[in-house]
């Protein structure tokens, strides 16, 4: 990898992400100042206690799981724009697969960054247009006819994505896939914690791959 480009990506990426962090923190500060309404510390603490233990853990895990997948520019962008599992990671994977470039290569870095940047811009625009037209769109978005389409967006997305990866790497796929299917069949309530299970799947997949590689099965 061209270290100059990559090093510069880290440099610019850090500036952007830290500025984004400051901006993000200044949003509640601005609201508090404008309305002269600072919340009770206990209310914030109680609210945080309900979500932070799980979401902070997920955030740490996501950094180590998605960081290598998305590349430098892609990671700095995706961790600011969010919606990584349902949009950014699939977009980057599909783009690298179509362009036949390897993640972690210089070409992979370019394609992944292009995909994540495009996806962020389009998502932001769709949401902005949607918000402007919300009163007109609400009946359509809330229509019971369309509800199954949006309820099933993840299976619809991952079905297409998975068939490409699994057909190319079926030996590598078997262990994590069987593990996850059995796990969710036995403990359906885990569906809400799928974020935590992504790295679990990654670790199982890595362990199985290592064994198969050592035994020359792959």
């Amino acid at each position: 990898m061209n270290t100059t480009y990559n090093d510069k990506s880290h440099f610019y990426g850090r500036i952007w992400i830290l500025t984004a962090l400051l901006m993000l923190l200044s949003v509640p500060v601005a609201i508090c100042l404008y309305y002269g309404a600072w919340p009770e510390g206990t209310a914030v603490l109680k609210g945080l206690l309900g979500v932070a233990p799980i979401f902070w853990t997920v955030a740490v895990i996501e950094v180590f799981t998605y960081g290598p997948m998305l590349g430098t520019g892609g990671s700095y962008l995706a961790f600011v724009t969010g919606n990584i599992t349902n949009i950014k990671a699939p977009a980057a994977l599909n783009a690298m697969e179509n362009a036949q470039v390897k993640p972690g290569s210089e070409e992979g870095e370019v394609i992944s960054t292009l995909a994540i940047a495009t996806s962020s811009i389009v998502t932001t625009l769709v949401i902005a247009v949607g918000v402007l037209l919300l009163s007109a769109l609400t009946p359509v978005l809330n229509s019971p006819t369309l509800k199954p389409a949006f309820d099933n967006i993840l299976p619809a997305l991952f079905g297409g994505l998975a068939v490409v990866y699994i057909s190319k790497n079926w030996k590598l796929s078997l262990t994590p896939l069987i593990f996850m299917i059995v796990l969710f069949l036995m403990v359906p309530s885990l569906a809400g914690s799928v974020g935590v299970l992504v790295p679990v799947g990654a670790l199982i997949s890595l362990a199985a791959a290592r064994i198969m590689y050592k035994k020359n099965w792959i």
């Binding site: 992400i17 370019v110 949006f150 619809a156 998975a162 359906p188």
Partner: protein, 240 residues
């Protein structure tokens, strides 16, 4: 000052945040495109990536809009708009709002009127998603160094390592689809949708390879996803 969760001030705040996100995305897009040209990648390939991703993103982006709609009944539009445009995802924002509202004894069914409750929720939503933004600048370079070490030591294992990471992620989501199968036939709907999407992707693959319809590559994932969503609309009333 009287509080309104849909005030112009909050909309202006949302517009500033959103403009920042777009600016960052454009910055990285232009940099990556230029670097792609420098290292000898074809312009057509780069443009194809942009077009294909743009088309693919539309449907999931609409589902995010649904998330804003869900939260807007309680929080107005600007705060959910900000939160779902930066870092957030509905899977975090809804529990964050619910957790704080419960702590304050509020119902999510009514529009919020107490500015203190509103700012409490804004803080919880913000503080809850910060760790990723702190950890990426601290650790990304080190993580990549580790991956490069693995690759330099044994390039075949390096490739298998990356593929295994992807497959781990895909497996978790495929497993999740099986969550409701114990609830009878209706619980199988996500599995049918998944298989249908896979089937369409397979057909696209055949058309691309056998019939040389190379242009289809750009849209294959979008087509599979949209047709599978339409399939869900058709089979849900029949089964459920």
């Amino acid at each position: 000052m009287s509080f309104n969760p849909n005030s112009s001030f909050l909309f202006i705040l949302a517009a500033v945040v959103i403009a920042f996100v777009v600016a960052q995305s454009v910055f990285f897009l232009v940099r990556a495109y230029r670097h792609g040209i420098v290292i000898g990648m074809e312009r057509a390939q780069l443009k194809k990536t942009i077009l294909s991703t743009a088309v693919f993103t539309i449907a999931p982006a609409i589902s995010i809009l649904l998330g804003i709609l869900t939260l807007s009944k309680f929080l107005g539009i600007p705060l959910p708009w900000i939160r779902l445009s930066v870092v957030g995802a509905i899977t975090y924002e809804l529990p964050a709002a619910t957790s704080t509202a419960t702590a304050l004894g509020l119902s999510l069914a009514d529009t919020i009127t107490d500015p203190k409750a509103y700012t409490a929720i804004a803080w919880v939503m913000t503080l809850g998603i910060i760790p990723g933004m702190i950890m990426i600048p601290l650790f990304l370079k080190k993580i990549q160094g580790g991956i490069m070490k693995i690759k330099n030591k044994d390039s075949k294992w390096g490739d298998l390592f990356m593929t295994s990471l992807f497959l781990g992620m895909i497996s978790a989501f495929l497993g999740m689809v099986f969550t409701d199968v114990r609830n009878g036939l209706a619980g199988w709907i996500p599995i049918f949708v998944l298989l249908f999407s896979a089937l369409i992707m397979g057909i696209c693959g055949v058309l691309i390879k056998v019939c040389k319809m190379k242009w289809l590559e750009t849209y294959a994932l979008s087509i599979s996803m949209i047709l599978a969503m339409i399939f869900a609309v058709i089979i849900t009333p029949l089964i459920g």
